[in-house]
Amino acid sequence: MKNDRIAVAMSGGVDSSVAAALLKRQGYDIFGIMLRLWSEPGQDNNGQNRCCSPASVSRARQVAAILDIPFFVIDSREEFHKNVVQFFIDKYSAGLTPNPCLECNRNIRWGHLMHKALSMGATRIATGHYARIIQNEDKWQLLRGHDNNKDQSYALSMLGQSDLKRTLFPIGSYTKNKIRSLASDFALPVAQRQDSQDLCFLADKDYRRFMHDYAPESLNPGPIMNSSGETLGQHKGLPLYTIGQRKGIGISAPEPLYVLSKNQSDNTLIVDKLSKLGKSHLKAKNVNWISGTTTKDKIRAEVQIRYTAKAVGAWIKPIDDNEVEVEFDHQINDITPGQAAVFYQDSVCLGGGVID
């Protein structure tokens, strides 16, 4: 048995289950952890967070039993509420479109869970993310997962050297198909297709309803204008709209209208034709460079502005250690303040920042 003790974040899903099985086969001393996360009380979800529903807990326990490893559920409801749910509410209230998964990874997985794992004698944690870590001389690098369709490095772009040093992504070099077949080789139960776990803490999938219920004070009606400053109607509160949104604006026009921007200072929603949506420039704040060293020179990279977006060639110009400007080679739609802009060179993830 290897000396390393590894805590595997287990969700009951096939990815983390196979991750655990692979590590076990490699001879590591492993145990499983699942976090109990806060959830909005509700009917549809039985008041349970979709990331840790009773069904997923029992599935994960079942996998742990097959692998004969200890498995624990740790209560993280308070930390999750404080760091992720409140963050989500605050950012939406401030007119942004936050990405709670990144925040959860930062504060909960590589925060609370890492802390608990280390206190339980683990030397590293492992997760079932589709991403890879390699050591290049004295630096740890984050790489995209081998399966392009499944790559999750975007949501991991906030990791730093000290995180990567203590992390394993055992399934990052496999395709999803291979993971499924490994699951059957390991005789692991494969869950029926799981729900999307996006916004796992909502009782339903309707974040607008959630904002109505949890932050009604953030919903102040105001004018809808086009980019030439003409008032076209009334919006119901900026948090209810996202950049690029077309449906539900409530204005009939000869050409479809899209949300271009949300102007928090005068509470206006700017909408216009599709052709006006494109931009070739963005500013990102709170920039994390995974290498731990910042650059002063502009660098060539591909930049991805959403979890599901395609990375686009761009120049990144550092303004200071925390801020950069990004000049894309061509215009792109849906640049959304609050989402992450993540920088890549080929498959290496350099880091990222929050779109301003």
């Binding site: 003790r5 145990f31 976090l35 326990r61 200890p70 624990f72 559920v73 740790i74 004698g121």
Partner: protein, 385 residues
């Protein structure tokens, strides 16, 4: 590190090898339905009749006072619901008394009778060691009290109640007395006459019998209503084809423990006391929960200040020790159990509980290993805060 120490016998025990052996033929060779008229049925009926007689012998009661059930929880439910229904029907009263440290099988059932069926319940407090006072009991008895249910031995803190004193009070007032003896059955005397109970619940898996089988002793003519209706098995008090092999196994297991428990108990007591003393000695800010002497021979339960009991269980699991905590819940919900709440422990202590429950095979070196690692684990956990 290769040592695996199971210190959770209060949760469940392994099946004794000879119990397993006794059960096996009744799964395969002899499979008749005991209610069937033919010889196949006759033979399995004979098996459960024999089991009933063996058990009646140990309980010092009549065989027809034993009702086989599917578990301890079912026995508790049958006792409370059956007696409540009878009281309702005959206008014998509307009030029942339970203790504040009952297992959920009693607590939730009583609460359900209150919320959905209009009964009144009184939950009798316990002192800081978990003991019921006879004076308190006398004080809450009402003219319309029809049932008192107080557990023989507690599952979390091991406290043993003075059942015969309590039943005497009940009988002075003509009130029926039920006791949940699920934890007690493997270790304490089960003489029904001496205990003076009218109803008593037992579950086989706590004394090296199989899971999924239990019994309710009900004094003749006390229980007339079933809470599971259907066929007329078990004198019409528990519908459903009997689980023959498990019933055979339960009788065998009870016979075995009856014969060996005094030996096992004295052995476990020595180890238990050694463990208790060393934990209290070597771990600062620790207390024993439950009564020092009125306790099950196999129970050592503690509370540690500033410790999360759930996490402690995880640390011990990583050290290959199986234990449990009153705040433990496999889904990660740290709230002190109602038992620990009833002891009025300070909040700092009530989340930091640990129950180590010994078995008949627990030995000196198991205890030494725990003595060696537990203080370190607690110390590390406290340091990590």
């Amino acid at each position: 590190m290769d040592k695996h120490i199971y210190m959770d016998h209060a949760a469940t025990t392994p099946v004794d090898a000879s119990v397993l052996e006794a059960m096996l033929p009744w799964f395969t060779n002899e499979y008749g339905n005991p209610s069937s008229i033919h010889r196949w049925g006759q033979r399995t009926d004979y098996a459960i009749t024999t089991a009933r007689e063996e058990i009646a012998e140990i309980l010092c009661c009549e065989a027809d006072e034993i009702i086989f059930t599917s578990c301890g929880s079912e026995s508790d439910n049958l006792a409370l619901r059956g007696i409540a229904l009878e009281a309702r029907e005959l206008g014998k009263g509307n009030h029942l008394i339970i203790s504040s440290i009952e297992h959920p099988a009693i607590l939730r059932t009583a609460q359900e009778l209150e919320h959905h069926h209009g009964f009144d319940i009184t939950i009798l407090p316990v002192d800081q060691h978990g003991l019921i006072s006879t004076t308190d009991l006398k004080n809450v008895i009402r003219p319309d009290t029809f049932l008192i249910s107080i557990m023989y031995a507690n599952n979390e803190i091991g406290v043993v109640q003075p059942i015969s004193e309590l039943t005497a009070i009940a009988h002075e007032h003509n009130i029926l007395f039920h006791s949940d003896a699920v934890q007690a059955a493997g270790q304490l005397p089960l003489d029904i006459e001496k205990l003076g109970v009218d109803l008593l619940s037992v579950s086989a898996h706590k004394f090296y019998g199989p899971k999924g089988v239990g019994l309710l002793y009900a004094k003749r003519d006390t229980l007339k209503h079933s809470h599971q209706t259907g066929g007329s098995q078990e004198n019409g008090l528990r519908a459903g084809t009997q689980n023959v092999p498990l019933i055979v196994g339960m009788a065998r297991a009870l016979t075995i423990v009856a014969a060996r428990k005094s030996n096992d108990n004295s052995k476990m007591k020595v180890l238990r006391d050694k463990l208790i003393e060393s934990v209290l000695d070597t771990i600062p800010d620790s207390i024993l929960t439950g009564h020092r002497t009125c306790r099950l021979p196999n129970n050592a339960s503690f509370a540690f200040e500033g410790i999360d009991g759930n996490e402690l269980i995880m640390h011990l699991d990583l050290l290959n020790i199986a234990a449990s905590s009153g705040s433990a819940c496999k889904t990660g919900n740290p709230e002190p159990s109602s038992v620990l709440t009833a002891l009025a422990l300070s909040p700092k202590l009530s989340l930091g509980s640990l129950r180590l429950s010994l078995g008949r095979d627990t030995n000196d070196s198991d205890i030494e290993y725990i003595q060696q690692v537990l203080p370190k684990v607690i110390n590390n956990m406290r340091g990590a805060l």
